[in-house]
């Protein structure tokens, strides 16, 4: 009888032991799955971060034509070589100011309109310094027409003006003119960029090496579904292309 009880006890223990082992295994399994999930998540997070970085880099690359950067540096170099040090210093300071603004803004989604206009003016002034009589421009912007919290996507306008210069004006013999107009309407900001270059269709035909202008695609993406981008070919009395007009509608909340 005693040995039977002992046997029962032993069987009970064995059962408890196997329960214990079973639940330990289960816990370990759960732990394993959790660790695996954690690493996978971490990996995918790293991938998303890398993608975000890539987009930011794309933005920065699309904003600034490398030819503009290096040709500006070349122009500054010439001023030094010729001993026009003060001019060179001013050029260098303004150029640094422009680069700094781009760096600061390429990770800001939107900025106040006035800041964007200041940036645009600085960019045009630098291009004007290189191109001289080949370029003249005017910006029509009255801050009184806008409310203080009107914003637009940062660095949105500069690529349009850059297109006007590099793909419109520099391709013609005539003196280039660029006009930028900003106005406030009920629920949006309207912006017109007009040039007297070779016209949109002709500029599309020109195949440029290296720097393909992905600018417009990016502008469209950043305007969102409620914004609009319209491109018009301007013509003279004879029906010849006389420039390009780009119209942006930027919704305001």
């Amino acid at each position: 009888k005693l040995s039977a009880e002992k046997q029962q006890l032993r069987a009970q223990r064995r059962q408890q032991y196997s329960y214990f082992l079973g639940s330990l295994g289960f816990v370990l399994l759960l732990l394993g799955v959790a660790v695996a999930l954690y690493y996978r998540k971490k990996q995918s997070l790293a991938k998303t971060a890398a993608q975000a970085l890539l987009i930011e880099q794309k933005l920065w690359r699309a904003q600034m034509n490398p030819h503009f950067i290096f040709n500006s540096l070349n122009s500054i170099k010439r001023l030094y070589v010729e001993g026009r040090t003060e001019k060179a210093n001013n050029f260098l300071s303004d150029f640094s100011c422009l680069l700094r603004q781009i760096l600061e803004r390429s990770n800001q989604a939107t900025i106040p309109i006035e800041q964007e206009v200041d940036f645009l003016r600085l960019y045009l002034e630098l291009e004007k310094r290189r191109l001289g009589d080949k370029l003249s421009y005017s910006i029509h912007f009255d801050s009184a027409d806008f409310s203080f919290d009107d914003t637009i996507p940062s660095l949105l306008l500069q690529p349009l003006v850059e297109n006007s210069i590099w793909h419109g004006i520099l391709k013609t013999e005539r003196q280039g003119q660029i006009e930028v107009r900003l106005s406030r309407e009920d629920d949006c900001v309207r912006c017109l960029v007009e040039d007297n270059g070779i016209g949109y269709y002709a500029s599309q035909q020109e195949k440029s090496i290296g720097h393909q202008s992905k600018g417009l695609t990016l502008v469209r993406e950043r305007l969102g579904e409620h914004g609009h981008l319209l491109i018009r070919e301007l013509t003279d009395n004879l029906g010849h292309a006389s420039g390009t007009q780009v119209e942006l509608t930027i919704p305001q909340l």
Binding site: N71, S75, G210
Partner: protein
């Protein structure tokens, strides 16, 4: 003493022409007979019709076209070309790949001295066939053909025909389709960067494979790749991840 050389500078940026002329005159005043300038494809064409030159500094991006438009419009390229560019990621690789001299703006004094001295040593005009290869590659942003020089001369090989490249000391073996082989006296490294843009992958210190010719991959023997001609190529342990990513994403 050799005769003095004539030079032309074709660039649409006045500042760039000024700086180049100024530095050339400073460094090589005794060797240079004349420096002519042009600012566009059209004006350069007119210039080269009347003026024979030995050395051309050519900007790639001009207002009315590209430097290649100019070269292609000439019946014959009787001079040596140094390409000049402010920026072009791919073009620089292509210049290196096809062994063309180039300068980036703003250029370094020592780079200018180097390219001019290289020219003065040889005084050979550029080959129009390799200019054509270069211009096609840059237009497509991809290298599609390779010039392979061997002891007897050179061959132009379409990239698609190359199965893999194997390094052999200072030589490189080209394994082509139909069991053809070429050995040339350039190192594998000189082909690496350019051919990467054409879909090649460095699997190993001594191997550069054409990914379109990969047939299978196995982990056996530390990882080997079987190519379309049945040859097997080793793959380095640290290249495994990047290699799998090319196929499996």
């Amino acid at each position: 003493m050799k005769s003095a050389i004539t030079i032309a500078i074709v660039d649409d940026e006045a500042d760039a022409r000024f700086l180049l002329r100024q530095e050339l005159e400073k460094q090589f005043s005794h060797q240079i007979a004349l420096i002519a300038e042009a600012e566009s494809v059209q004006s350069a064409k007119r210039l080269l019709k009347t003026q024979s030159i030995d050395l051309l500094f050519l900007d790639i991006q001009l207002a009315d076209g590209t430097g290649f438009n100019l070269l292609e419009s000439l019946p014959e390229v009787g001079f040596s070309v140094v390409f000049v560019t402010a920026y072009s990621d791919f073009a620089l690789r292509a210049f290196d790949f096809f062994a063309f001299a180039y300068l980036v703006k703003p250029f370094k004094q020592k780079d200018l001295i180097r390219v001019v001295n290289q020219f003065l040593d040889k005084r050979q005009p550029s080959h129009s066939s390799s200019i054509k290869l270069l211009s096609e590659s840059i237009a497509n942003c991809q290298i599609t053909q390779v010039v392979v020089a061997d002891l007897e001369g050179f061959r132009i090989v379409p990239v698609a025909d190359i199965i893999y490249l194997k390094s052999d000391g200072n030589y490189t073996l080209f394994q082509l389709q139909d069991e053809q082989k070429i050995i040339c006296s350039k190192t594998l490294k000189e082909y690496d960067l350019g051919l990467e843009t054409a879909g090649f992958f460095r699997t190993h210190r001594s191997y550069l494979v054409n990914l379109t010719h990969v047939r299978s991959f196995t982990r056996q023997d530390g990882g080997t790749v079987e190519m379309s001609n049945g040859h097997t190529v080793p793959i380095g342990r640290r290249r495994l991840g990047a290699f799998r990513e090319k196929f499996l994403g």
